[in-house]
Structures are given as C-alpha cells and as structure tokens.
Symmetry: D3
Subunit: 316 residues, 6 copies
C-alpha cells in the first residue's frame, strides 16, 4: 500500500492464515469479457413483500457470510478454487415497485446475455424477484424446469394487489415462461396456503411435495424422481430457494417463519444433490431479512447453500 508500516485497507479486522482461503475471497468483480464457472448478482428488492421485509439487505449479508467459510470440502476431498464473478447489484428506485420488477428483468436479461458464466447465483430480495429472473433466464436459455424449495405455493392471484412475493410462480405460469409440469414445489407446509392455490397447482400439473412427503418419501427420492422427469422435458433447471422452507429454529430471519419445516442439513444436502445434475445452472435465494435475523444465521445457511451448489458442480 505504501511504505507505511502495518498499514492495511480499511475494513473489518480479519485474521489471515496463509493456508486458508475464505469463500468470500473467491468473489471477483466481473468486467466485460470475463468468463468463469460461477457468477453472482444481487437483486435487492423487497418492497413488493406482503409482510414488512428488509430482504433488500440480504445480498450484502450473504456475501459477508461467505467470509465464514473456507473453500475446502474434506468430505468430497476438493478445494473450490474457481472464482465467483460478482456482477454487483441491480439498482432499485425507491417508489416504483412494478418498474423495479421490470428493471430486474432488464438487468437479468443483459446479464444472462453475457454468457459470462456456467452457473448463476441470484441473491434476493423477496420472492417476487424470481419472476423477473426466471423470465429472463428462460428467454435466454430455453425451456426451464424449476425446483422450488418453499413453504408456500406463491401462486396467489394478482387482482388483490401485486405483483408481490406471493405471486411469482402464478405470473410465470400465466406468462408461459414456465409450464406447470416443469415446476416442482418441495416443502409445502400445511395451513400455510389456501385451498384455491393448492387446487390451482394441481390443475397446472405442478409437482407438489409437502413436509409429510419429505418425511415419508425422503428428499433423496423426491429429488431423484423430479430430476429424472425434468431432464427429459427441459433444457435447463433453475433452483428457487425460499429460505422459509426451513423450520423457524433453523432460519429465524425470514419474514414468514413457522414450525414444522425442514432442518438445514436436509436442505443443504438437497442443494448438493440437485447441483450435481448437469442441466442445473442457476439458483436464487430469497426471503431473508437480515434486520430480523439472529446472528445472521439465515444468511449463513444461504451462503452455505451456494457453496453446496458449487460442491455439486465439482463432483466428477
């Protein structure tokens, strides 16, 4: 930096061990023409949320949580050393919510158009961002299959207000950005959705797996079945991870928490399993509000989910 003794750039005091590389150190600012295996972008929009939400702070919190992890998996015996190209965040207007959703769509359209990376990480924001992201994704990459981990269907009507974080998959279906047969909803919880939307999911041919299904069929079997089905039907697969699929004990920082959900280990193993599939090339993570989280626990799970995705892509 200079010949001033002991000077370092301003910032959190971080102990540096020469043999340890933190996942956050893999983040590398993207610039035109840069190519890589993994790319990341923040979609900091949460004003569409039905409940009060500070999910717009999550991209920063999740990037910070990457500092808690090192790059090495002893279980797999691989060191994840590929950089993650960080595109930055999409800029939001303070009062134009629907316009912001259009901005997200435009930004993601341009980003996917770069074809800069093989695998995309989108950090929400509330779940409304998945509409913009998946729509742009499908326009660029072709027929999309979606594996949605969520306690909720997110198939609400839009006449009562919106588009909100309750409507993304309804709009994607109505738009024909995706088709119901290519959508799997895993972790749907009892007494958390209206009958009308459960019925709508069924009519559209959506694969719905409740928490009871996970207990009885097992996550491994559910995923194997859905991946088998999707790989024949679609060009690419996109994971949409709503953190409230987890039980409140494991994800205290979601606006809509509750008991009876998944534990974090089951989720993390699931991400690994799915990411191994060659058609899987994108994941968004939504509904984390760092302002109500406990010790950033929920952002820590999110960062780990991204790493599990990367681990999946490192299995030979």
């Amino acid at each position: 930096m200079s010949n001033i003794r002991h000077l370092k750039p301003a910032g959190k005091a971080i102990f540096k061990d020469r043999y340890t590389k933190k996942v956050k150190e893999l983040l590398t600012g993207w610039e035109n023409e840069k190519k890589g295996k993994f790319g990341l972008v923040g979609l900091p929009l949460s004003k569409p949320s039905i409940s009060h939400s500070g999910a717009s702070f999550a991209p920063e919190a999740i990037r910070d949580a990457m500092q808690s992890y090192s790059t090495y998996s002893g279980e797999l015996g691989v060191d994840l050393l590929d950089p993650i190209l960080d595109f930055g965040d999409l800029e939001m207007n303070p009062t134009e919510i629907v316009e912001n959703q259009r901005r997200l769509y435009e930004g993601m359209t341009d980003i996917f158009a770069t074809e800069a990376v093989e695998n995309w990480f989108m950090l929400g924001g509330d779940h409304s961002i998945s509409y913009s992201s998946i729509k742009a994704f499908s326009e660029h990459y072709g027929k999309v299959g979606v594996i949605q981990f969520d306690a909720h269907h997110d198939l609400r009507n839009t006449e009562d207000g919106g588009p909100t974080n309750g409507t993304p998959f309804r709009r994607l279906l109505e738009d024909h950005s995706i088709s119901g047969e290519n959508l799997a909803q895993i972790g749907i919880r009892d007494f958390t959705n209206a009958k009308a939307y459960h019925d709508y999911a069924k009519e559209q041919g959506v694969s719905v797996y409740s928490m009871a299904d996970i207990r009885y069929i097992t996550m491994t079997n559910i995923l194997a079945r859905e991946l088998r089905k999707l790989e024949e039907r679609v060009d690419v697969i996109y994971i949409s991870l709503d953190m409230d699929v987890l039980d409140q004990a494991f994800a205290p920082g979601c606006p809509a928490i509750g008991p009876g959900g998944m534990d974090s280990n089951t989720l993390l193993e699931a991400i690994f399993q799915v990411a191994k599939h060659p058609k899987v090339m994108a994941i968004d993570i939504v509904e984390i509000d760092p302002t109500i989280d406990i010790r950033n626990m929920t952002s820590r799970v999110a960062a780990y989910a991204i790493i599990q995705f990367m681990k999946g892509k490192n299995v030979k």
Copy 2:
C-alpha cells in the same frame, strides 16, 4: 364503514387475499346459546410461577399467531372452516394468587356448563391453571384421562409454597380429580425432576415416558398404547401441553428451557394423532412467556398445535 374512500378499521395492516382464510378469522366471539365444534378461552395467570413469568400475555400472543396460518391442509385435503367460539379471558386480580386459581375454577365450571362446544382450547398462563381447568372439566364431563406433554412431573409438594406451576398434578391427584393410572406424562427429562417426585409418580401409577422412551419406543407407539389404555378407563381425555417439553431450539420462549427435548414436528404430529381419538375433547397450552420469546416462535407452535387438534377432529 362509511362512504369515506379507503377507510378500514384501525389495526395491523393485513394483506387480504380473497381466496385465503386465516385461522384467526375463525375466531368468533361467543354469546349465550351459540354452539359449535370448537371453543377457546384464555386463562392469563402466571404469578403462581416459581420462575419469573409473563405467561399471562400468552393468550393474546397465541390468538395473534393464528393470523400466520391459513385454514387449509393439503396433506389431509380438508379446509378447516368451523368457527372457534372465543369466550374471551378470565379476569385476574393483581395480588390474590390463590383467589385467582379459584376464579379460574369458577369460570371454567361455568364455561363447561354451557356445553357450547365439542372441543375446548384453554390458553394459559403458567401450568398452575391446569389444576383449575381439569378439576372443573372432570366435574362436568366425568372420569378424565390426561395426556401431559411436559419436561416436568409437576408433582411438587405444596408445603414449600404454592400452589405453583410445579404442583397442578399433585393437587389433582390429592383431590381425586384424576387418578394416577389415568395420567400419562410424556417427554419427562432427565435431571429436570427430583427423585421424590419420580417415585411419587410411580407410586400413583402414573405412566411416565422419558425422552429416551420417545427415542426408543417412538411417540406413535407410546400414544397408541396410552390411548388404548385410557379409552377403556375414562369418559373423556384432556391434553395438557407444557411447551417446555420442546427442546430450547424449538421453544425459546418458555421460562424453563433446556436442551435434550422434543422437536416441534414430533409434538405437532402427536397432537394430531391424539386428537383423532373421539374421547379427546380438550387441550390446554401453558408456560409460554411472550416477553422472552424470539419472534413469537413459541406462540407460533402453540397456534399450530391447536390447528393440529382441529385437523385431528376433521379426519373422517
């Protein structure tokens, strides 16, 4: 409300989706002669508690938590649309603790006498309220079996002070309101009870299941065994749910939290299983202190437990 545009009653801004009914909307103020399937009453007494407790705030917190749930079970395929007749709360004196326990007994005596509903939900308060409630219940409905989910026996002597939240079942046994053979205590935790009370339970013929029993016998088998036994011995069955039966990770808002307890899913499935039995017609939920809870997690479990009870009663 008037012809003033956009006006609505004061209160929390709640997004209203026309297809979604919240469980809280099932609450309907009880009035004389009204009859129904479910009834609810608050017993906001926590000054008897041995440890500092704001459990008197729980009835309000649990009712509010019902707003987090919709009425539909996709797993069972039923929409729970029966109203819950809400009797309100019993009024407590600020300094007369024992008199308050008498008040609870008198109030519950009158409430059960209405025979307004088929199934009763009593929201505590600390566990001392179960003495008053079960005593009144047994006087009205006949021989009572009790399934108590609890880390503790609650069989303390009363010479050292009380009656407290440590004594309700001792008093019910001494009163002959219930008999030991008709009491099942499930979730009793090691190093959480004195030998004297464990021995007393055994002498009285109480069925005691520890956390190890749940791991080795399974909850399903324990409940099947106890229901089979009780259905032959009693007229009606009453569930007494002390939230501290849960592990501290799942119920952070109880005064007496600790590790090594039940997870919330096991508990919620247990309530469903028990409620299916036709002799089961009452549940009380106690020992939630909303002033120390984390994001109302524990009240959310309580509200879900009530819904699981209702779901049990909707199985054909």
Copy 3:
C-alpha cells in the same frame, strides 16, 4: 358479557382502577354524523421511505401508547374527557406506492369533508403522508400555515425518485397547496440537509430555525414569532411533527436518528404552546418505526404530543 363468572373480553390484562381513565379509553369509533372536538386517523404508509421503514406500524403503536396515560393534568387542573373520534386507518395497496399517496389524499379529502371534529390527529406512516394530508386539508379549510418540527427540510427534488418521505414540502410548494412564507421549519439540523435544499427553502421564503436558533432564541420566542406571523396570513394552522427532530436519546425509534437534536420536554411544551392558538387545528406525527424502537419510547412521546395538543385546546 354473560353470567359466566370472571369472564372478560379477550385482550391484554389491564388493571382497572375505578377512578382512573386512560387516554386510550377516549378513543371512540367514528360513525356517520358523529361530531366531536377531536378526531384521529391512521395513514399507515411507509414504503415511500428512502430508508427501510416500518412506520406503517406506528398508528397501532401510538394508539396502544395512549393506554400509558391518564386523562388528568395536575399542572393545568383539567381532566381531558372529550372523546377522540377514531376514524380507523386508510387502506394501503402492497405494491402501488404512488397510488397509495393518492388514496391517502382521497381518504383525507372525504374525512375532512365530514367536518366531524374541530381538531385532527393524523398518525403516519413516513413523512410522505403529509403531502396528501396537507393538500386535502388546504383544499377543505383554506389557506394553511404549517409548523414543521423536523431535522430535515424535506424539500428534495423528485427527479431522483419519489415522491418519497424526503419530498412532501417540495411538492406542497410546487402545487401551491402551501406557500413558503406560510411554512416554518423548526429544529433543522446541521449536516443533515444539502445546501441546495437550504437555499431552496430560503428562496421560497420558508422560516428556518436550526437547533442553534432554538438554543439562542428559545423555542418559546420562535413559536410566538411564527404564530404571530401566521395568524395574519392564514386561515388555519397545521403541525407536522417528524419525530426525528428529537435527539436520538429521546426518540430511538426513528429511521433517521442522530445526536444534536431536541429533548422531548422542549418538544412537548412546544406542542402545548402552539395548540393553544385558535387557528391551530391539525397535527400529523410521522417517522416512527416501532420495529426498531426501544420499549416503544418513541410512540410514547407521540401519544404524549397528542395529549399536549388536547391540553392546549383545554386552556380557557
């Protein structure tokens, strides 16, 4: 309620002393044709806020804080027994921010048209609500003078996004709903506003009083001077109270807190002094976010400010 002993309506256990009337008990639901001295309405909009804000929860929090006060002033020797007609809240759409500002304008237009009361209390929400409220107020009541207590000018341009909580007075001036000479801004803080907006205020003839002015001129003299000036120029006077005019030690629950502000006693005395003036007939209170407040301190100040207004109107 019935002949059930000890039964009372559900809700917080509130000790009732027969000689004590709480200010919250003065709240009386408004119905068509009802007339009175004081009226209150909630404007629960905070999505326009530049910073993350849960100010939409403030109307409920402020009403609840009224429960902490009794109706009697020993200092003045009067018991405030006039009811406060509560109109309820205006209903907000989850995603249409600008439309919501129009809704607030329409709702307030209809409410003022009732001429139901002599004095109006508007509970925000963020400061953007004052645009809608003052515009409707001026259309109904004539030429309006505004006394704004605020650390900020709120005269931002709207080209950079908005209308936000940074723009209400800019829009009112551009609209000619008010004129600069009829606006007094009191409590403006150094290093909290841009030069451009300070200059704009000066150009428009706004009376600007900094915290230093309050220390050197005194609040009493500032208010006396401004009331004298306004009483000759306008038909009615409206107080707009942005809680962040207070020092962070006294109002920890505002999104934009900081040191160097007013203490709560100075503010409360100021409200009393202004409210005594016969042309003063409205107050809005904004920028309280109960989700970040400490023990509802800021809502407690807000409730007290309303009572001080009522006290001012009870001076003979």
Copy 4:
C-alpha cells in the same frame, strides 16, 4: 487460597488495581453486634406490581452495579471508606403476596431493631415494599417525614385489588404511619395520575411538585423548602425513590417509563442535597426491572444514588 499458582475464587474476572477500591467492596456481610454507618437490605418483591415486573431481580443488579464505581469523590475531596453492612435479602413466598408484605414488615422491624447502622438502604422490589419498610421504620424511629421522588402519587384505592405498587402511600396515610403534611411528592407527571388521587393528595395536605414545578421553582429550592418544613415536624426523614421519576431516556428499565421526566443529574444532585440533612437516615429505591433494562443503566443510576447519599453523609 492454597499454594496452587494463579488460583482465585470463582466469579467474574475483575481487574484489580491496588489503588482503586470499588464501592461494591464496601459491602460487608452483617453479623450480630456489628455496627456501622451504612446498612443495606434487599426486598425482592414484585408480584404485587400492577404491570408485569421483574423488580425482584433489582437488589442483585444494584449490588452488582456498585462494582462500576470507585469510592472517591474528587468534587468533594473525600474517599468513602465506611463499610456498608449488607443484611442480605428478605425471603419471599412464591404465591402469598399479602403474606410477603407482612414478611417484609416483620423483617424490617427486626432489622431496624438492631440499630446496627445510622443510615439504611432498602433495595426493592416494586413500590409496594415501601409500605412495609416505612411502617416498620416509623414504629422504630418515631415521626417520619417522607420525600418521595416519583412520577405517580401511589395513592390508589385498594378496593380494586391490591395492595399493589400503586397503593403504598395511601395505606401509610390510612394507617397513620405517616401524615399527609409530612409527605412531599416530587416529580409528579401530568397525564400519569387520576384526578381523584391528585385531589386526595391535596386533601391530605401532601406537598405535590410536578415536573413543571421543578422547571420553574428548581429542585434546589423545592428541597430546601421541604426540608425546612419537615425538620420542624418530624423526627426522621426517609427518601423513597421510584426510578420512574426519571425520563425514559435516563431510566429505560422501569416498568412504567415515559417522556417528560427528570434527567439523572438533577436526581443525583437532589439525593446529595437531601442526604446532607442530619434527620435523613433512610432511602429505598424501587421499580427497577433488570429484565427489561438496557445495559443495566437504571441499576447504575440506583447505585449512584446510594453513593450520593453516602457522599451527603460525608459532608462536614
């Protein structure tokens, strides 16, 4: 402790500087026949409180806060080295509230009977403890004058429930333990008391000073006037300090906080001023709930108040 290197008794790691004596180190367990200048006893009762209160934890919190202070006053130039004889706490029954008030009376009767010290510090508990303490005090020491710092009169009727923390001075007056002319209430706040009790105070001849009186007359003058009056009428003077006399910014840990109160400096100077009077020989400190306090701020003020009392007694 032994010849084990570096061993010390278990407990908080406390840095020990050989020249610094902490006020907590002055605490010395009282034993029969021990005499001294200052004595202290805990009255950990808060179940009589109208609002939910953990004030029973305050004696421990205040003793701990004494660790934050050293014994030396640079302003006065004296080092307070007299021990404080610590009598311990009075033991409370978990369910017998009125019996506990009797216990406090009996315990304090016995303690005052020891005549072990010249000045007494009583640590509540809620304000109900003052009834027991002052009654015992007056029976031992003769005609008592009381200087009560409080936002409230605490003159409620007892028919609506109680005796609570709202009734101690009513009961002392009705008992003739004190007479109204010998009671000064300082810091009484507007809209915090009912007219009936304000009128009762006046009828009984109580000296009532509002917050406005403190601003206009000044605390120094009020105290000078009241001490002059009392010194002719009574044998001994007792200070009853309800921490909620402070503004919520200075005492966030009281159950009944609000704005418009005293700042801590005014209070601490007042204690010093009063304690200098030779007839003043007791102080109780009440209404601190450590479970809701912020960083023990309110207990820190309490500990400082005791030290200011000791400082007053060290003025030659």
Copy 5:
C-alpha cells in the same frame, strides 16, 4: 443467619423445594486435602481468540446454568449426589496473552498434582486453553488420548499469529504432548477448515470424522471404534468439547456458529457414552461466549454435558 425473621443471604431469589437438589448445590469449594469424585476449575481466557470473544465469561455462566438442573436421572434411576469440588478460576492478566497461557499451564499443573478428584471438568475460555490443560494433564497422568468434538481441526500454523484458539492441537502435536494417533476429531465440518490442515491431520494419523460420517456411520459406532482403539494405546482419555460442533440452532452462543452441525441430543448422548469408559477422566468445554448467547442456551448445554459425564461415571 440471625434471629431476624425471613432474612436470607443476598442473591437471586431461588425457590427451594425440600425434595429437590440442584446440580449447582453440588458445587463445594475445594480446600487443601479435600478429595472427591469430581472437580471443576474455570479457565477464563478468551483474548487469544481469532474472532471477538467473551468466552472468559463462560465459567460463571455454566456454573449458573447448573442451577437449572436437578440431580436425578429417571432414565438411569440414579441420583447424582457426589459433590463437585470447585477449585475456582485461574487468574488472568489483562494484556499478557502468552503469559496467560503459561499461567493456565502452571495452575493446571498444580491442580492435577493435588490428585484431589477422579474426574476433572475444565471450563473455558476459548479453545486455546486446551493446550495448557492437556499439556499439564498429560504430564501428570501419562499418555493421553483426546476425543475432540469440534467443527474445526484447530491445527493452524502459529507463524501467522498466535497461539490462538485455532492452534491448540497443532501445538500439542508439535510438543509431543499427544500423538496424532491418539487424537479423534469428531464433527469436523465441510468448508470450515483449510485443505492444509485436513492434510496435516491425516499425515499425523489423527482420526477425523466429518458430519457426513456421523450421519452414515452413526455417533455410537464412531465412539465405540475410537474408544476401543484408544483404550489400548493410552493411559487416560480427555474429552475436549468445542461447543461449535453443534448446529447454530442448538448452540447460538459460540463465536463461530453455522448450519450443518450436530444436534444437542446426539452430543449429550455421546458424552454419556464416552464417560462410561473407565479411562476417561477429564473434559473441557470451550468456545461459549455468554455475551452473544440467546437465553444462555449454550451454557445450558454445557452444564448438561457435565451432568451427562457424571451420569456416565454412575453407571455400574
């Protein structure tokens, strides 16, 4: 204490039931020549920690948490009535970190030399204390096997700073205080350790069990295997329990929390299983920072772990 009615020593109000003995009551101050079955000492050092840590407060928090447990195990049918000899804490210098590590070594050397007890409980502190403790232990008791429950290897190099809480086992290996073949690391988590240290562990012959190993091999089998191996190789076995081996949902109070860890029940059963082995005679518990814990949950697990150890030693 005296003939003063109701007087008790100062301290937390603790309800005393004559039949219940709390584990904290087993703590008995050690004095020269006292012998017993269990001994406990606090090692309150956390300044070596890489991340900001208040683990120096843990010895006090864990002792306090013992108050939450009674001595009786219904599952085993034994009442743990052996006293725990409490040696107190070792005294730390505020600025000499490396000197403090030496002090811990000296203190533990002297303590083990007393041979006062059969089983030792060491309460950290951060994990750096294990270096001092195990070194002293091995010098006194002979060849030591260590079962380390930890998410991390703690085998960092010391050239980059330290010795820290990341280096204790590296130093013990380099010192030959232990040998790699006699160290089992259980609960090692993916993406939480650098490849270099994983490789170092392997080179040294350390037995490493990841979280995946626990899921697939089971804890019971892992422990059986390791105990079998160690019992032939070593004289004594020492458990080093780093609380961050638990998932963040079960141990929110560790500096380095994360998802994907062990649940508390698995850990508590493991401690019981290990403690039954006759060669196991010591346990240290580290990395609990009470200043960031939630309701002392993590200290509660720690206290329970000690009790499980005692229970293991009570199996005949």
Copy 6:
C-alpha cells in the same frame, strides 16, 4: 460499469439525490504524495481493554456513520467539500498486545511523517491507542498540548497489568511525551476514579475539570481558559475524545457507561470551539464498542464530532 442495464457495485442500497453529498463520500483513499486538509486512520485495537471490549470494530462503524451526514452546515453557511484522505487501518496481531501498541506507534510515526494533511483523525480502538498516537504525534510535531474529554483520568499504574486503556496518560507523562501542565482533563466524574490517580493528576499539574465544574464554570469558559493557557505553552494541540465522557443516555455503546455525564450537544459544541483554534490539529476518538451499542448511536456521535472538527477548521 458495463452496458448492463441498472447494474451498480455491490453494497448497501443507498438512495442517491444529485444535490446531496454525504460526508462518507469525502473519504478518499490516500496514496503516496497525496496532500489535503484532513486525514483519517483506524487503530483497531481493543484487547488491552480492562473490560471486555469490541472497540476494534469502531473504525468501520464510524466510517459507516459518516453516511448519515451531509456536508452542509446551515448554521455556519458552509459546505464542507474538502476530501478526507483515508489511510486505512493499522494491522493488529491476534495475540501480541504490547507488540500491537508498538505497531500503532510505528504506523503513526510513518503516517505523521508523510505530512500529508493539516488535520488528523485517529479512530480507536480503546484508549490505550492514544499512548501510541500521541507519542508519535509529539515526536513529529513538537510540544503537544492535550485536551482529553473523559470520565476517567487514565493515569493508572502499570504494575498491576497493562499497559491497558487505563494507563495511556500515565505513560505519556512518565515518557515525557507530554507534560502535566499541558494536559487538560474535562468531564472527570465522581466515583469513577481512585483518589491516588486524582492526587497524581494534581501533582503533575494536570488541569482537571469535573462534571460539576462544567455545570458551574460552563464548558465554553473552561475551553477558553485552557486554550489560552496551552497556546502559549505548546506547538500543537491534540484532542483525545473518550466517548464515555457522555452520559449513558447519549453514548450507550461504551464499555464503561454511567449516569451523570455530559450530553452530546455540549460535547459537539466543545469540539467545534476547540477546533477553531489554529494550533489544534488532531483528534482521536476511542472507547466505542459497536457490538454493544444501540442502533450505532455512539458511532453517530463520533462521526458528528469529526464533522464538528472540520466545521471548526472552516470558520474564517
């Protein structure tokens, strides 16, 4: 950034108004040869602290708090547009406390040697950093006068451990880096310092002003007197601002908080007054622990203090 629509660098969503410049935007990374009016450096060391302290996080928190302020002073009529050259932070070793103090001395020596700026801002860290900083400062700039705002003397002996945050001025005096006559301590609080250190201050000729002095003499007069004295005796003046000089209500985020301190307005005016003096050219700000602060209130005061210093340097 690219031709991707709406993309911006990752980070907190910050609303950008084209006419508003935030003080944080004035921060400009220093590079060799760059010169300016103001310079800033972080000294993130808090392990020397006697009490548990996370003050090492303060440099980052204070820089962030600069984002809350704009550059314009309406009171003075100046826009502060000079850049602040940010040197970054000095790097600390995790376990070598005394070595770290040497590092700070070396780093500051090199930084002052650049003569890059006219005025220096040093962000601690605990108060121990002032020893290193003032020593280096005096070696470069000549005879130094120090105005220390502090509740404490910080003149402890170093035999009992240290050098800690209790010893910096003792060491500077013993070193002859400063002389007692050139040190003014303002805000010293009763019962917060030992007699021995008060006496030592007096012997050394230190000017000591207690909180009572501030009330009676006024801050303005104290500062005028001390500046007059220092300007004749020294070459340069350095302000050392220990935030605990403020009352706990105004600075809740210091390790050693208490009542009876300064309010923030008095402090901020004092900084302005002192900074106007041409010999004043440095300020350090210490003892803020962001991990225990409330909504960063204390860091907000710190950032404001820096701005007040800059304002003082902009008075013509």
